[in-house]
Symmetry: C2
Subunit: 338 residues, 2 copies
Amino acid sequence: MSMVGLRRVVEPAGVLPQAAWRLDASPEIGPDETRIRVRRLNLDAASYRQLAEKHANNGDAIRAEVLDIVRTRGKMHNPVTGSGGMLIGVVEEVGPESPLAVKPGDLVATLVSLTLTPLAITDGLAGWDGLSEQVPAEGTAILFGRSIVGVLPDDLPPELALAVYDVCGAPALTDRIVRKYPDNPTVAVLGGAGKSGSLTLAAARRAGARTVAVVVNEKERDALLKAGLADHVAIADARDPVAVAEAVGEPADVTVVCVDVPGCEHGAILATANGGTVIFFSMATSFPAAALGAEGLAADVTMLIGNGYVPGHAEFAVDLLRQVPAVRALFEARIAAD
Amino acid sequence: MSMVGLRRVVEPAGVLPQAAWRLDASPEIGPDETRIRVRRLNLDAASYRQLAEKHANNGDAIRAEVLDIVRTRGKMHNPVTGSGGMLIGVVEEVGPESPLAVKPGDLVATLVSLTLTPLAITDGLAGWDGLSEQVPAEGTAILFGRSIVGVLPDDLPPELALAVYDVCGAPALTDRIVRKYPDNPTVAVLGGAGKSGSLTLAAARRAGARTVAVVVNEKERDALLKAGLADHVAIADARDPVAVAEAVGEPADVTVVCVDVPGCEHGAILATANGGTVIFFSMATSFPAAALGAEGLAADVTMLIGNGYVPGHAEFAVDLLRQVPAVRALFEARIAAD
């Protein structure tokens, strides 16, 4: 039980680090812990969007609030969205009882959320303009014994690997679910042009599915048509249930929500066939809206909370990126635009 | 598409009735609608608990707020918890295009949430003291074409049938999931002594599972031991993840959360074996806490949003109540205590 980081919880007592209001982020490690010298944070999309909207894209104000959150909570855990992100850095010290397969000097990405990772920032985020999810940072982070960490691959730029790792749960879980539907299922992806969306489309197709993407505007539609990841691409506001259902057409066997805005639950349910599955991968998902929405629509659909962990998920996603040049191109374009 | 009640949405435009801030609850029905003469509301447990705590069990204040919510929103949709409940009443008028299998004079329970049911109260809830989830009420409610409604069985008191219908999604979905684990799986139920909890235990056992119940105190433990619904009963605070995991012991194949308080996600995940399933049936479930908690624990568990609709769920639950006298006794004791 000590492996889950209980000793780092300051308040309230008795909860796990993710549920804690405040963690002890001091750099001294316990016997099962690992210390990382931080190089870069990658903020969760929903979290960054909330901060950017709150501060009207004022970079200084966004940076100040991120620093304040980390100082107050001992972790980058956005109190409004409940989400965090991940980081890359270099392994500095590994406790003698840690089961993690890393050694000092390894360049790694943490694959557990920043919402449970003790984090101390030492440079005031001086190298960040506050205008992007990718945050150059100096400081220390702590990994517990029961954790997930990926050594960055040699053949990919760190920013690219980090962006892939950040969303690697979605393609792996989609693959697992799609393979339960044997007869050429249809998979609809809301937000198909984004990072998790494009990887999910590629995973669904490789698993044998016909793929439908719903995107928000013509620019995303054109980019996705050019990439060729979806058999059909339609434009709709994911928060408009009737528009989403019409965009998808014949109800999908599996619908994956990769849109980081609130209010996408009902469209996803309406667009899914009876006996189908909805996988929610957006941290903006409302549990009651999904549960009561399906009931209210008399929709016999299985609704999954997108678990960010599936064994082998990081390698699975990196492998997809290597094998599908169109996915890599979309990621590189997104990173360049950041 | 008209069958889902779009014409009743006043604001914001374009969303489904459950997501709407305000519905038009006027009693005139459209061609696919059905009007119910309301007799009794059954408030969702999480909703009633929030109101009771806010008003320190002051019945007059609780009643006033329920009336205010219904008047303001055109439905009993608690804006804090996002949950509602259900109602019983008598069918008054059925539109010519309604597909529902009811006729005027039928005594029915609505099996869709009050959060999407247009509701007008006409008696000021004069017959309710504000101190119970069961609310005698006069007024009208509207069902859409795509809805779920159950005619009340002749052999059960209406209050008993309503209490069963209110939680009938949990045992039916649990039955479906448990049958996917062939080798005498273990099912843990957090909140096993409650209404949904006791029905879920009975369903799990009938589906072939060994059952473990986690309850909050000795009184509930003794009641459940007497009822004999669980092979093992342990006391733990469901919000304390370490205590829950220790109470369950050997990790469960399926864990069902039937506790209507926030903060039960991590205990449920910790108590579940790799490859297992967690079914969240509490409206107090936090989507990010579940998603990030499983990731943070490197837990390969499937997490389901408890869909309140499974075909045949009402008949399934009433059948369990008829066949398992101990479940019926627990329900009758709960109703008597209300």
